[in-house]
């Protein structure tokens, strides 16, 4: 497709289970970003990829969160042993490269994660 695609669009899981969220960026975009948005709050930066490497992982909330990217394309965000506070919308964005002052970020519609 032409835009950023995320799957699933909704995920309901039980506390303690692992979840995997997927992002397909726009073809040719080398930079990919993951954000989390809790209800009534702004977007919270989690991690970004330049190519397949993640130079800055400092935004990941805990060691239960991890992300990878392969083939300079698809990325997965994995949350292990989910907790109720992980409930949020997880947004993925991509851009041509990581210099945001010169490159627009394009966002997917997000995955709404609900941890019961």
């Amino acid at each position: 497709g032409a835009g950023v695609s995320q799957s699933p669009s909704n995920k309901v899981t039980e506390k303690g289970k692992d979840v995997e969220l997927r992002c397909d960026p726009i073809s040719g975009h080398t930079a990919l970003y993951w954000y989390r948005q809790r209800l009534g709050q702004g977007l919270e930066f989690l991690i970004y990829f330049q190519g397949n490497s993640a130079p800055d992982k400092s935004g990941l909330p805990s060691d239960r969160f991890s992300a990878e990217r392969t083939g300079e394309s698809v990325s997965t965000l994995t949350i292990q042993r989910t907790q109720q506070e992980d409930s949020a919308v997880y947004l993925c964005a991509s851009s041509l490269n990581f210099i945001l002052a010169k490159n627009i970020q394009y966002f997917g519609a997000g995955t709404r994660l609900s941890v019961l």
């Binding site: 919270e44 970004y48 800055d56 990581f98 945001l100 002052a101």
Partner: protein
Amino acid sequence: DQQVKQNSPSLSVQEGRISILNCDYTNSMFDYFLWYKKYPAEGPTFLISISSIKDKNEDGRFTVFLNKSAKHLSLHIVPSQPGDSAVYFCAAILSNYQLIWGAGTKLIIKP
């Protein structure tokens, strides 16, 4: 500590009038600001940006003003249209790749 603040959770404006959305920031190192618009069940879409070397940037019905001394920026939409009803986010670039986002303002355009 919120570095980018949008103090109005919502704003209601009559169609055809001017909408003014405000944003304040605390970090004087921010030198580039962006506004995004978000419809329900969709991701944010880029609207307009401004560099700190400017005090105004205009794109059609949308104008962003930056007051560096007050650490304040605003987005003006004139005339407001029903399709402008959405949540508007202000964001600032921290380093090359990281955006710091405000909590958003929900704009409602009344017919």
